[in-house]
C-alpha cells in the first residue's frame, strides 16, 4: 500500500515586522541581527488569530483541493504546536469541527517544540498503513513566543500547514520515514511561563545539527540514496542560516533548498516551519520529483522523510486554494507598538 500526501494547504497571517524595527526598540543593530539570522521580516498573527484559526485556514485550504474527499472519511486529526490556545481543551477538536470531520474520529494535540507537525504526519501514516483510518490530518501551526529583546524575538513568527494523509490518489508518496531522538535540553518553556528559554549556542551543534544530520544520514542510508537524487530538500528553519549550513554539511546544493526556504520572508513558524517549507515545494513540484525533508524539534529530535511526487499531482486541484506565493503577497508591516498589541504583550485594565 502506498501511503502519502493526498492533499495539503498552507496559511500565514498577513502581518509582518522587520528586524530593524525590533532592534530600534531594544537599542541593538536589528538589521545586522536580521542579516546574521538571514531573516528579512517575520509574520505576526492578527489580533483575532491563534493556532486554532491558522490551523483551520490551512486545513480548509487542504480540503478545498480535494472536493471528492468526504470529510467524514477522516479518522484522525492531529495538531502539532507549542502555542495551543488552551492548556487543557484540544485545538484538534475545534479544527475537526471546522472542517466537518467530527464525530467518528480521533483527535489530539501534539507538542514537540518545532517538530510536532511532522510527528503528526508519521502518526497518520501509521494509522492509514494499518488500515485503521481512511484519511488522517496532520497540522503543524504556531504563533511562536520569543521573549522581548531576546534573539528569538527576531525570528518567532506565525503560520501553519495541513496535510491529508491517505493511500488513495496520493500526490506525493512517502517512501520512507525515520526519526532520531535524544534528551537534549537546548530549548524549553515551563508550564505557565509565557516565554521559552534556550541554551544559546548549545542549540546549534549538539542539538539542531546533530539531530538533523543523524536522521538525514540514516534516511539516506536506509533509502540507498545520495543528496543528488533529490530535486528539493527542506530542513527545519529556525533562521535562514542553520538550514543553509546543514544542507551544505549533508551535501545538498543551495538550489535544492531554495524553494522550501521561507524563513527569510516569514521567520520561524516553529511547528509550521517544515510543513510550510514542504507546502512551498509541493506548490511547484512535478511528477517524479523527489523531496528530502528533515524536521527538528528542540528537546530534541528529528523526523526525516523521503518523498516522491506522483502522476496524480497532474489532476490534483492545486488551484482550488492559494499557493504560498499568493498567501504571502501584500503583507502589512507593523511597527513595534502594533506588534506588541497583536502579540498580546500589553497589559490591559480589567
Amino acid at each position: 500500500m502506498d501511503v502519502g500526501i493526498v492533499s495539503y494547504g498552507a496559511y500565514v497571517p498577513r502581518f509582518r515586522i522587520r528586524p530593524e524595527e525590533i532592534g530600534r526598540i531594544w537599542g541593538v543593530d536589528g538589521k545586522g541581527m536580521g542579516k546574521g539570522l538571514m531573516i528579512n521580516q517575520k509574520s505576526v498573527p492578527g489580533c483575532d488569530e491563534d493556532v486554532v484559526t491558522i490551523a483551520t485556514e490551512a486545513a480548509r485550504n487542504m480540503m478545498a483541493r480535494v472536493p471528492g474527499v468526504d470529510p467524514k472519511d477522516i479518522g484522525a486529526v492531529y495538531v502539532g504546536s507549542e502555542s495551543h490556545p488552551y492548556a487543557v481543551k484540544p485545538t484538534a477538536s475545534i479544527v475537526a469541527e471546522a472542517i466537518e470531520a467530527t464525530p467518528d474520529m480521533t483527535a489530539v494535540d501534539m507538542e514537540f517544540a518545532c517538530k510536532a507537525g511532522t510527528a503528526g504526519i508519521q502518526a497518520c501514516m501509521g494509522l492509514v498503513g494499518a488500515g485503521m483510518v481512511r484519511y488522517g490530518v496532520a497540522i503543524g501551526a504556531d504563533t511562536s513566543q520569543g521573549a522581548p529583546g531576546d534573539a528569538l524575538e527576531y525570528s518567532a513568527s506565525a503560520g501553519g500547514a495541513s496535510y491529508l494523509i491517505g493511500s488513495e490518489n496520493v500526490i506525493a508518496k512517502i517512501n520512507r520515514t525515520l526519526s532520531f531522538t535524544t534528551d537534549t535540553p537546548d530549548f524549553w518553556r515551563r508550564e505557565g511561563q509565557p516565554y521559552p528559554l534556550h541554551g544559546g549556542r548549545f542549540t546549534g551543534e549538539p542539538a539542531y545539527f546533530k539531530h538533523i544530520t543523524s536522521a538525514a544520514k540514516k534516511l539516506l542510508a536506509a533509502a540507498g540514496a545520495v543528496p543528488s537524487d533529490y530535486k528539493y530538500a527542506v530542513f527545519h528553519q529556525p533562521n535562514g542560516k542553520f538550514p543553509t549550513r546543514v544542507a551544505g554539511m549533508l551535501g545538498f546544493l543551495p538550489e535544492q533548498i531554495e524553494t522550501g526556504l521561507l524563513t527569510p520572508s516569514i521567520g520561524n513558524t516553529y511547528s509550521g516551519s517544515v510543513p510550510l517549507g514542504l507546502a512551498a515545494v509541493l506548490d511547484k513540484a512535478q511528477p517524479g520529483d523527489r523531496i528530502f525533508v528533515t524536521s527538528y524539534g528542540s528537546g530534541a529530535g528529528s523526523d526525516a522523510f523521503d518523498i516522491t511526487v506522483t502522476d496524480a499531482i497532474k489532476s490534483y486541484k492545486r488551484e482550488n486554494a492559494p499557493t504560498l506565493e499568493k498567501v504571502l503577497a501584500n503583507p502589512v508591516y507593523l511597527d513595534y507598538g502594533l506588534y506588541a498589541k497583536h502579540k498580546g504583550k500589553i497589559i490591559m485594565s480589567e
Binding site: 492578527g46 489580533c47 483575532d48 491563534d50 486554532v52 484559526t53 480548509r60 469541527e97 501584500n330
Partner: protein, 134 residues
Amino acid sequence: MSSVAREWREIPGRYNLEGSKCECCGKVYFPKRDFCPKCRRESLGKVSKHKIDRKGDIFSFSIIHEAPECNDFLKPYAVVFVKTKDDVLIAGQLVDADLDKIQIGMPVRAVLRKLDSDGASGVIHYGFKFVPDV
C-alpha cells in the same frame, strides 16, 4: 460571561455557516430557524439544515470606531452585510482588509477567527468573520 452551553449550541452556524432551508418554498435562512415565516404552519417539520456558501459579495458596510470591549484591539474595523452565493444576507466583521479599499460588490469569504473570550481563564469563542476573497 456568556453561557458555555449557549455558545456551544451555536457552533454549527458560527464555524460552518449552517443555516436552514424551508422545504415548502425553498427559502434559505441564516441563522438557522425551525419555522419558515413565509409558509408558517405549512413549514412545521419541513425546515432542514442547509450549509450556506462561504463566499459572497459585500452588499453594504459600515466602519466602526466605537467598539464593544471584545473588539477593542481591532478598531477601527468594518462590519459588512454579505450576500452569499445562495442569496442569503449575513452580517459579520470584515478583517484583513484595507478600510479605504472596501467597496460594495467586493468579493469576500468567511474564515474562522476569535470572536471573544470569557476573560483570561474562560472559554474562547470562535466564529466566522469575512476577509477579502482575492
